[in-house]
Assembly symmetry: C2
Homo-oligomer: 313 residues x 2
């Protein structure tokens, strides 16, 4: 199995290390900050314990054994067929990192970026290796959430997309293949559309932010966690999705007409939401709650796996 290099060892890079190492790949982790790299070693070990507890990994030690830590970029990428870049989400940082990578990568090395918002065309245009660069955007943490959005720059080779799609499938992720660049890719465009509507409902005084969370969590979000929005409506009318659009299209058009004005994501709006959320969860408990969320995500991943087997996919 090919060697994988990970550039950037924050939370995202750490989770990628687990994804590739548990699938049997040798993984070399690099970070510009030695402290971050040291921290990564500690965090990865504790994450592997959680994953083992939730029966998502059998043999944490052999996974750990496949992860090494490099103090130079060139050592990390030496002999690597694939590089997953997860450096901070700032354009100038990406540009610097890719300029360095361009000098040291092999002729058939492919580079995927974990960026959630910057298209590959913004930081790869001038590179010799630009045809082998693309976005491979995960949902955190990729060690628990399988979606990976693959998005090419205009100059990305189809063969590079093919390779990363096949690699991600092989290591147990769920890749989708965007045809072209679009702000927010697919997942954040969908999330953004739902958040915009949610914010309008709160701003218009229809309901509270907490009630929006209940509406999704105890309602439609239950379906979306194992069938997507299209299969959901396909099963919500006796005659399937066309029948559903016949029945509810007019209602949705009425909803659209009543919500066309663009939303201002203003600081004032942020302050109001912050105030409501902090009443439910004090700032000093955010990280503890995030750890709870990751444990729930692991339990859900285990449940989905068992349900796929017992009830069917």
């Amino acid at each position: 199995m090919e060697k994988i290099a990970l550039i950037g060892s924050g939370l995202v890079g750490q989770a990628w290390a687990i994804v590739f190492a548990r699938a049997g790949h040798e993984v070399a982790l690099y970070d510009a900050s030695p402290m971050t790299l040291e921290q990564a070693e500690v965090t990865i070990a504790s994450r592997l314990n959680d994953l083992t507890r939730f029966k998502l990994i059998d043999d944490p030690d052999s996974v750990l054994g496949r992860i090494s830590y490099a103090i130079k970029t060139s050592d990390a990428v030496a002999g690597a067929r694939y590089i997953q870049e997860s450096v901070p989400e700032r354009l100038e940082v990406k540009r610097e990192v890719y300029k360095d990578l361009d000098r040291v990568v092999g002729d058939d090395t492919i580079i995927g970026s974990s960026t959630s918002g910057i298209p590959a065309s913004a930081f790869t245009e001038s590179l010799a290796c630009r045809a082998r660069c693309l976005v491979a955007h995960p949902i955190n943490p990729p060690s628990v959430t399988p979606l990976v959005e693959l998005c090419p720059a205009p100059w990305t080779d189809a063969t590079a997309m093919d390779y990363v799609f096949e690699l991600m499938t092989r290591v147990g992720q769920s890749p989708i293949r965007l045809k072209k660049e679009t702000p927010g890719f697919v997942a954040n465009r969908l999330q953004g559309a739902l958040l915009s509507m949610a914010l309008r409902l709160v701003e218009d005084g229809v309901c509270t932010a907490e009630e929006v969370d209940i509406a999704i969590r105890d309602g439609i979000g239950r379906r979306w966690s194992f069938i997507g929005p299209f299969e959901t409506i396909d099963l919500n009318a006796p005659g399937g999705i066309a029948d559903y659009i016949d029945r509810y299209g007019p209602l949705y058009e009425e909803i659209e007409r009543s919500t066309i004005a663009p939303l201002d994501w203003s600081p004032a709006l942020a302050r109001r939401l912050e105030a409501e959320r902090r009443e439910r969860l004090p700032a000093d408990r955010l990280s503890e709650r995030s750890e709870w969320r990751d444990r729930r995500l692991m339990a859900l991943a285990g449940h989905n796996r068992a349900a796929d087997e017992k009830i069917g996919k």
Copy 2:
């Protein structure tokens, strides 16, 4: 415990019968069609078996024993403190049914409508009992999905809203309380916003409908099934929701600017989606797949209950 009357015995009314009867209420079911009423008795029994198999009900026989079937509206509502109306989704049908109910209901009887798209103001204005009428919209089936959207007409008494909120909480549902009428209430406005964006992504050739389903199902939908969209972003930036909006607000505004044009839910669009879905699921397997979905929803409800206890809520 107060007696509950259910007007309309289709799939929604049947699920409501289980919700109230399993909580210990005497339930009287009525339908204008005797055949539908007979069918309901059969379906409810088989649904109770499923719920028992998934450990969501202990004693199906005692639940069955609390459900009776009335051949006249007046018999069903006699002595009922609450009526849940689940007749077909057509304005003229609702108006007729409520005119009948207005003649026979007691002075303190409250009526909630299961309508997913018609505001209570459209069919209760001229009624003597209009102050005690409101929408109590479930997500199907309410016996498995707890959300109930309570929406008042302009003339609905706050005490009627209070009563239904308390009743729904008591029987184990998750009610939210809308402050005013709005097309699609909350859940379908959120679903509609996400679907509109999903349809644009497919129409613009960014990805397929199947890839949209994967993006939600194997991505962000995992979070939304146990924390809502606002808690999700509150936990997605170290500093909480205001910090998140600082970081990603500009991206979401860019997304909004690129998707302001209203979407045409055209028959042509419906046909294209229908074609893609039918490739994945032939029309003659829709009902079988819907039963699979309901079993997965039951398994998920059981998982969520267990996870709430083991890992915390």
